[in-house]
C-alpha cells in the first residue's frame, strides 16, 4: 500500500513541475520570438521571481523517485543518460542567463538569447526523456542494460515536439494573465493556434502510445477505463474553456484551464499505464523500496507538504496581478563620490615607536598566537580533557568581549556614520 502513496507523491511533484515550470519554460521560448527588447527583459523578470520555486518540484520528483522507487530511478536515469545530462546543461545555462540578465539592470542580448534558447533545449530534452521512458527501456532486475542510444525512438522525438507545444501554450496563457499592452494582445492571439497544435500533438501521441509502448493496455478493466475516460473528458472540457478564454477577460481563465488540462492529461496517462512504472515490465511493486523507508518518506513529506503549499501560495500571491517593474527606490540623496574626494578619509599617521618595542611585541604576540592555536587543536587532550575546552572558551569569550567593546567604541567615534544627518 505505501508504494501507491509514494507513487502519488512522485506524480504530484511531477505534475506540479509540469504545470509550474511548464509556463516558465514556455515564456522563455516565447521570448525568443518577441523582437522587442523591453518586453524580453520583462519576460525575464517575470520568471526571475518564481523559477527557483518552480524548479524545486522536479528535484522533489527526482528524489522521491529515488527514495521511494529506487528500482525505477536506477533503471530510468542511466537509460536516458544523454538527454538527461543535456537537460541539466540546459538548466544550468538557463539559470545563468536568467540570473545574470536580472542582475545586470538593463537588457543584454546575449543573456536574453541564452535564456530563450536554453528554455527550448530543456523542453526538448524533457520530451525525449518522457518519450524514451514511455517507449520502454531494456532492463533486468531493476538495472538498465541497454545501449547508449536506447532513448532515441520515433516516439521520443514526437514527444519532444509535443511537449514544446504544451509548454508554449502554458506560456502564452500565463502571459495573458500577467502582462498588459502589446504583450497581452499578442499572447491572446497566440493562444488558439497553439491550443490547436497541442490537441493535434495529444492525439498523435495518445494513439502513438499504443504502437510505441511494448506493454499491453488493460482497458477491459472497468475501473481503469472509467478513470481514463473521465480524465480525457476533463482535459477536453478544460481545452474548450481555454479556447473560449484566449483574448477575453478575465485574464486568468485560459491559464487556469491550461493547468487543468495538463493535470487531467497526466492522470489519463497514469490511469492507462499503472502499475507499470517503467515499460515494458517494471512494476510499482518491484521498483519500490522497503516498507519502512516508504512510510518515513510519505509521513515526513506529508507533514511538511501543507506548509510548503501554504508558503508557495503566499509567494505566488505576493507577485499576483500584472507585472510591474520593481520599484527602484532611488538613493535618498547622492553622496559626493569617491576618488575626487579622497581627502575625506584621513591618511593614517602612526605614532613614533621604538623599533625594539615593536619587535618584542610582535614576537610575544606570535608566540601567544602559536600557543592559542595549539590549545585550540586540543594539544593537551592527551594529558587532561578540560584544559583545551576551557582555553577555547576563554579565547572566544575574550574575542566576543573585545568585539562588543571595540564595536561600540567605533560607533561612538562615528566610524559607521553615513554622510548626511547627525546621529540622535
Amino acid at each position: 500500500m505505501p508504494e501507491y502513496l509514494t507513487y502519488a507523491l512522485v506524480l504530484l511533484s511531477l505534475g506540479a513541475y509540469v504545470v509550474l515550470d511548464g509556463y516558465d519554460l514556455g515564456v522563455g521560448m516565447l521570448s525568443l520570438v518577441d523582437r522587442d527588447e523591453r518586453r524580453r527583459r520583462e519576460y525575464n523578470e517575470l520568471i526571475a521571481t518564481a523559477w527557483d520555486a518552480n524548479e524545486s518540484w522536479i528535484i522533489l520528483a527526482g528524489v522521491a523517485l529515488w527514495a521511494g522507487l529506487p528500482g525505477a530511478y536506477a533503471t530510468v536515469l542511466p537509460g536516458v543518460y544523454p538527454p538527461l545530462v543535456a537537460m541539466l546543461f540546459a538548466v544550468i545555462l538557463r539559470g545563468m542567463g536568467l540570473e545574470f540578465q536580472s542582475a545586470s539592470g538593463t537588457y543584454r542580448r546575449g543573456w536574453g538569447l541564452l535564456f530563450g534558447g536554453a528554455s527550448l533545449a530543456v523542453t526538448l530534452c524533457q520530451g525525449l526523456v518522457i518519450g524514451a521512458v514511455l517507449s520502454g527501456l531494456p532492463q533486468q532486475d531493476g538495472h538498465f542494460t541497454g545501449g547508449a542510444l536506447a532513448w532515441l525512438t520515433p516516439y521520443s522525438v514526437l514527444c519532444a515536439l509535443g511537449l514544446v507545444c504544451v509548454y508554449l501554450l502554458a506560456g502564452a496563457a500565463w502571459l495573458q494573465d500577467k502582462t498588459e499592452g502589446t504583450a497581452h494582445a499578442w499572447a491572446g492571439r497566440l493562444g488558439r493556434p497553439l491550443l490547436g497544435a497541442t490537441v493535434v500533438a495529444a492525439l498523435v501521441l495518445g494513439f502513438g502510445l499504443e504502437v510505441a509502448d511494448p506493454q499491453h493496455f488493460h482497458f477491459e478493466q472497468p475501473l481503469r477505463a472509467t478513470l481514463f475516460g473521465l480524465a480525457v473528458a476533463a482535459a477536453a472540457v478544460c481545452g474548450a474553456v481555454a479556447w473560449y478564454g484566449f483574448g477575453r477577460r478575465p485574464d486568468w481563465r485560459p491559464f487556469a484551464a491550461v493547468l487543468g488540462a495538463e493535470a487531467a492529461g497526466l492522470l489519463a496517462l497514469v490511469a492507462a499505464t499503472a502499475p507499470v512504472v517503467v515499460p515494458p515490465s517494471l512494476t510499482l511493486h518491484e521498483a519500490s523500496s522497503p516498507h519502512g523507508s516508504q512510510v518515513f518518506l510519505v509521513v515526513g513529506v506529508g507533514l511538511c507538504m501543507p506548509f510548503v503549499l501554504a508558503y508557495n501560495i503566499y509567494a505566488w500571491w505576493v507577485f499576483r496581478g500584472k507585472f510591474r517593474e520593481p520599484a527602484r527606490q532611488p538613493p535618498t540623496a547622492t553622496a559626493p563620490d569617491d576618488r575626487s574626494t579622497d581627502g575625506t578619509a584621513e591618511p593614517f599617521t602612526p605614532r613614533p615607536e621604538s623599533r625594539v618595542v615593536v619587535i618584542v611585541r610582535r614576537t610575544l604576540l606570535t608566540l601567544l598566537g602559536i600557543l592559542l592555536a595549539a590549545v585550540s587543536q586540543d594539544i593537551f587532550g592527551g594529558e587532561s580533557t578540560w584544559v583545551d575546552p576551557l582555553g577555547i572558551a576563554l579565547l572566544s569569550g575574550t574575542a566576543l568581549v573585545a568585539w562588543i567593546l571595540g564595536d561600540r567604541r567605533d560607533g561612538r567615534l562615528g566610524e559607521y556614520d553615513l554622510p548626511g544627518g547627525e546621529r540622535p
Binding site: V63, G68, Y73, D337, S376, L418, P419
Partner: protein, 453 residues
Amino acid sequence: MASSSVVELSRWQFAITAIFHMTFPALTVGLSLLLAVAYTVYVRTGNPLYLQIFRFWKKIFAVGFGLGVVAGTVMTFEFGLNWGIYAHAVGPVIGVTIGMEVITAFFLEAGFIGIMLYGDGRVKPRTMALASWMVAAGTLLSTTWILSANSWMQDPAGYTEVDGQFQATDWGKVLLNPAFGYRFPHMLLAVLISASWFVAGISAWYLVKRRASALPFARRTLSVALGVLAILMPVQLYAGDATAVFMGGHQPAKLQAFEGNWKTDNNGYNLVVIPDTDKGENDVRIEIPHLGAVIGHDLTGRAEVPGLLQTPPDERPNMWSAFYGFRAMYFTALAMFATAFAGLVLRLRGRLFTSPRFLRWLVWMTPAGIIAITGGWITAETGRQPWVVYGRLRTADAVSHLSLTEAALSLTGFVLLYATLLTLWIRYIVRTVKAGPEPVTDLRTPAPEASVA
C-alpha cells in the same frame, strides 16, 4: 560490471560537479544569515546603512544562490545517472534523507527567495525580514540533512542489508549517526567562516581603496565579519581536530593517507611528500620532527604516526589527494587563525580600519574559506575510497551501465560549462564590487538649523 575507465570518468565528473556546487553554499549559507541580520537591524533602527548592506550583499547572494540551485539540481540526478547501482542500493536510506532535505529545506529557500530578492515595495518590511530569516533557516537545514546523508556513507549505522540493498532498521541511528555528531558542527562552522572571510576581504578592499561613499558600509561589515571570525576560529580548530581523531579511529586508512606516512616509524609532521604508490614509500619528504606526535596528543613527542602499509593494498585510498587536500585545509586554517588573532589584537589597539598592511592581507584572504572547505571535502571523500559506503559498497561496483563515450562526453561538457560559469561568476563579483554599494544618506535627523546657520 562496468569498465574501470567508466568508473574513473564518473568519479572525476562527480568530484568536479560536487566541488563546483559546494563553492556556492560555502558562501550563501553565511551570507543569508548576514542578510537576515542586516535587514532585521534596518527594520528595528531605521538606519539606512543596514539597508545599504542588505542591497549590496543581496546582489552577490542572488547570483550565487541561483548558480547553487542549478548545480544542486545536477547533483540530485547524478546519483542515478552515473551511480545507478549505488542509487538502487542506498535509495531506501540516503534517498529518504535527501528527500527530507528537499521538502524541508530546499522548498523553504526557494519559496521565500523570490520575496526576499524582489519583494521590496510589494510586502511590508517586517515580511521581508521574515522571508530573509526563512531563507537563512532553509540553508542551515539543508546543511544539516546533507551532512547527515554524507556522514552515513562515511560511517553507516542503523541498517541491515537485504539482497544488496540497504534498509533502515533505526531511523534515529541513521540520521544521527556517530560521524554526523562530529562532521556537522565542523561543516557548519566552516560555511559561516568562509562567508566571513569573503565579506571581510571585500570590505577591506573598499578601505584599502579609501572609497569615500563606501567607508561606513565597509567598516560596519568588516567589524562584523572579523568579530565572528575571532570567536569561531578557535572553536573550529577544536572541532576539526575532534573530527580528525574520530574519523582516524573509524577509518584508519584515511588518517594514514592524509598524514602522508607509509611505514609506522615517523613521529614528525610531514609538510611535503611525494608518494610512490607502487613501491609504498615516499620519494621526497619534508617534515618537522616530533610535531606529528604532539598534534596526535602526545606531548612527549615520541608517539609514531600510523602509516598506510598497515592497510591491505586493495583498501588503500590515494595518498596524493588525501594528503594535499588535508594540507590545503589545514595550512589555510592556520593562516585564518593567525589573521583572526591579528584582527583581535588590532581591534583592541583601535587600529582595525587604519592598518594598511593588514587590510591588504585581508583582501588576499577573500577565498580562504572556500579553499579550506574544498580541501577538506577532497580529504573526506577521496580518503574514504575505495568505498562509496564505507566498508560495505565499493565505488567500482556502484557505477551505472554506461558506455565510455557517454561518460567522456558528459564529463567534457561539465568541465567546459563549469569553467565558463566560474569565470563569469567571478567577473560578475568583481564588477559588482567595483561598482560598489549604492550611496545613501542618513536622513533620520534632518537638521534644518544647521543648514540655515
